[in-house]
């Protein structure tokens, strides 16, 4: 444990109700996550500050916000010891409910458009026998643990720009289902995601892959989908 210090950190939080931002001087604790900062503000400075979290261990994906512009999970991002100021904003491209809380509806609308649920193939009555080293699992497994936190959506630059774009998370999900031999709707899905509001909108900004708190690579999924359009689905 490091020595308790009496250092302070200057936090600027964008607030929705007065329409302005507010700056707080918060006592540092060690270790300190961004979430701890918010809880400290809530307890010591302003109990009305709006933010959200649930699991605090990077599993629920509800605490996403932007620190100095970069989308992060508040519960998983430590404040570096040498940092003395920080700026917090709600996610970009999503309607703000209050302060740092956004409405994820647009994100999930895009998610819903790729038919995110399995359409089981005929006769799938037993858990499928698929070896973990099969090509299909090699594609799927590394891309699986999306927590729908919206960090990629916010960092996309295209999806969050109110253009019609399915966005990295939804496309990643579509890629997984198309690769899944248990799913019967792959062809239909591939058509959907390669339509004009699909993969072609991607400009390889790599914002998604750079910020994903789970270390997934949605940009790779998009490249894969573009390739499958030409070469056909892997089967």
């Amino acid at each position: 444990m490091t020595e308790p210090s009496s250092k302070k950190i200057r936090v600027t939080v964008s607030r929705s109700d007065p329409g302005t931002e507010r700056t707080f001087l918060v006592e540092r604790i060690e270790p300190m996550m961004v979430l701890d900062l918010l809880i400290a503000i809530q307890r010591e400075h302003d109990p009305s500050i709006g933010f959200r979290y649930s699991c605090r261990v990077a599993m629920c994906g509800t605490c996403t916000l932007r620190m100095d512009g970069r989308a992060i999970l508040a519960c998983q991002t430590p404040l570096e010891p040498d940092r003395d100021k920080v700026r917090l904003d709600p996610l970009a491209g999503l309607p703000v409910v209050r302060d740092l809380v956004v409405d994820m509806k647009p994100f999930f609308e895009e998610w819903a458009r790729v038919k995110p649920y399995l359409e089981p193939v005929e006769g799938l009555d037993e858990p499928a026998r698929i070896r973990p080293d099969s090509p299909e699992r090699q594609i799927i497994d590394p891309s699986l643990d999306c927590i729908t936190c919206g960090a990629c959506y916010s960092s996309c630059g295209i999806a969050d720009h109110k253009r019609d774009f399915l966005g990295p998370a939804a496309l990643n999900r579509a890629m997984l289902l198309i690769a899944d031999s248990r799913d019967a709707a792959g062809a239909e899905r591939l058509d959907a995601v390669t339509a004009s509001d699909g993969v072609d909108r991607c400009h390889y900004i790599y914002g998604c892959s750079a910020v994903c708190p789970k270390g997934l690579d949605p940009a790779a999924a998009i490249r894969r989908l573009r390739r499958w359009r030409l070469e056909g689905r892997p089967r």
Binding site: G50, S54, M59, A128, I140, L144
Partner: protein, 568 residues
């Protein structure tokens, strides 16, 4: 799971999901790391799983519920795999891989890496895009509404985003708000889990059983004031041979379980650590140390990458130095009394998951938790589909609605009062000290008095007047429920004058099967006090085996070195 089944059985039903957090992204099912117990292998059997469950639960379980759990678990795994779209880890042969878990005689835990919950909840959430139920995310259920005949009429609710209150009329209400394990200073679960469902049912006059049973996980991270405190370090560390030290550098497990040392069961290790800490041999921050660096930094980094990363975040290096830990409250075994169809004594009211009591008895096996929430969730859905069409919409009692809404709005209207955050802290402190891992009469009585004081304070809390996304207000409402549940827990714990499973009384340190194969039921009396009654456990299927292997015995080989994937 419940919605999925209800919609499948009766597509014409009008289904509404009310969730205090984001739909599908709050609660603990999402946080399950370890996995899901189900009998899938021909070499395993329902009887074996049943025995493990009862041995774990110290025969306090409702045996019919436990049997139902075990019987349905494989079906649910099948359904998750073939209909819902989950994919669990496979073995070399392409079949579902099952790993070892503490306290079980057979490797039967199904998992997806160490993020099983994300896979299950994400895929279930995806199903909602197919079924399209009405989703009320960020809407908190306040109270159950009954009609004059005492049957379910609906519930009152509060939109966290706008602060608006509303009444939802329903033919059937399924309560599954996931227990109340957050009310301790050091706690693992998601923040929504403040006993809302249990408290709602209690206020509606339902019976709660086994409320004294609260499971503590021995290796929760200590990270100072940070919210990461309480996050679980996986059980596999102990399995792989990690040492536990107190502040004097003693391997204190020598005193508690010289034979199995750190590999003893969860309850024993939790208890040992707690006693070390409470008797002043803990670290200044109130913890003990876990050290696994003797395996070699590289080895630790390879085998426990996730845990090393988790520690690194708080500036500690698990691979090279000891890390500070403490027992952390984890799971509430107690809850509302239900039958195998999730039905309660109130017609139209179903309860499932952690809110229900009796499945796990005095201690839950790792891996039976998600199994419970999915199995009984599915059963509640099936049942709702049968019950709902038979029932009509009732008219809630207006006085009840008004009382519920007034209670919810009161803190907004007060100008001055204590801060909810402080009172919550005090509650967590009081429960940790008085009704924690080790209990005694004196401590419980003190905690009881403290709860009374805090209840009075809670009634005076004032919060900022913004109704939208007002965390302070929400915390106040959580607090009221937590206090209700805390009281039921303490009252039950006072009555059980023996030690069994998760409930350890230092003044009655032996398990007493002759007198205490009885479960404790708490309900709200006329005047608001807790009414306690005792009921013998019905040993419908299996009695305790005096000669059989004690539960601890079974666990040892599961925790053997090399089993890196042993989790909770």
């Amino acid at each position: 799971m419940c919605v999925l089944h209800a919609a499948q059985a009766a597509p014409e039903l009008d289904i509404t999901i009310v969730s205090k957090g984001a739909v599908g992204r709050s609660g603990c099912t999402r946080m399950v790391q370890g996995g899901f117990n189900a009998v899938l292998s021909p070499d395993d059997s329902f009887e074996l799983h049943f025995r493990d469950t009862l041995e774990g639960g110290k025969y306090l379980n409702d045996q019919e519920l436990a049997w139902t759990l075990i019987n349905d678990a494989p079906k649910v795994i099948h359904e998750l795999e073939t209909r819902v779209g989950c994919f669990f880890d496979r073995g070399e042969d392409g079949k579902i891989r099952q790993k070892a878990f503490a306290g079980q005689a057979f490797d039967r835990t199904v998992h997806r890496g160490d993020l099983t919950g994300i896979e299950i909840m994400s895929r279930l959430l995806d199903q909602t895009f197919r079924i399209k139920p009405r989703e009320l995310g960020d809407v908190r259920a306040l109270d159950l509404l009954l009609d004059e005949a005492g049957e379910v009429a609906g519930l009152t609710m509060l939109d966290v985003r706008t602060g608006a209150v509303a009444v939802l009329r329903a033919r059937v209400v399924v309560v599954a708000t996931g227990g109340a394990a957050t009310m301790y200073r050091i706690a693992a679960p998601a923040r929504e889990k403040t006993g809302d469902g249990v408290a709602m049912c209690y206020r509606a006059g339902l019976e709660l059983r086994d409320m004294e049973m609260m499971q503590f996980h021995p290796t929760g991270l200590l990270a100072g004031e940070s919210r990461l405190t309480g996050a679980v370090l996986e059980e596999g560390l102990r399995g792989a041979g990690a040492y536990l030290y107190n502040a004097h550098g003693e391997r204190y497990m020598e005193r508690y379980d010289p034979e199995r040392m750190e590999r003893a069961t969860r309850d024993i290790v939790s208890r040992a650590s707690y006693q070390e800490i409470m008797s002043g041999r803990g670290t200044p921050a109130g913890g003990v140390m876990i050290d696994i660096s003797h395996l070699g930094a590289e080895e630790v980094e390879r085998r426990f990458a996730g845990m090393v990363a988790r520690c690194r975040q708080i500036g500690q290096d698990l691979a090279r130095e000891p890390v500070e830990i403490s027992p952390t409250s984890h799971f509430a075994m107690g809850g509302v009394v239900i039958d195998e169809y999730c039905q309660t004594s109130v017609p139209g009211l179903l309860v499932a998951g952690e809110d229900a009591g009796g499945v796990h008895g005095a201690n839950r096996l790792g891996g039976n938790g998600v199994a419970e929430s999915t199995v009984f969730g599915a059963r509640a859905g099936d049942r709702a589909a049968i019950v709902a069409p038979e029932r009509d919409l009732r008219d809630p009692d207006p006085a009840q609605v008004a009382a519920s809404v007034d209670r919810a709005l009161a803190p907004l209207q007060r100008e001055k009062g204590p801060s909810p955050f402080q009172v919550t802290r005090d509650l967590k402190e009081a429960m940790w000290e008085g009704c924690g891992v080790v209990r005694d009469r004196e401590g419980l009585v003190r905690a009881r008095e403290r709860i009374e004081e805090l209840t009075e304070q809670a009634a005076q809390i004032a919060v900022p007047e913004t109704p939208q996304v007002n965390n302070a207000w929400q915390e106040t409402l959580d607090l009221a429920n937590q206090l209700t549940v805390a009281r039921a827990m303490i009252d039950s714990a006072l009555v059980r004058e023996e030690s069994r499973g998760a409930h350890f009384r230092s003044d009655y340190s032996e398990q007493d099967n002759a007198h205490w194969l009885r479960y404790i039921v708490a309900r709200r009396g006329e005047g608001g006090e807790t009414e306690i009654s005792l009921h013998p456990v019905e040993l419908t299927r299996k009695r305790p085996e005096p000669d059989g292997p004690p539960a601890e015995e079974l666990e040892r080989e599961d925790l053997e070195e090399g089993r890196e994937d042993v989790k909770r």
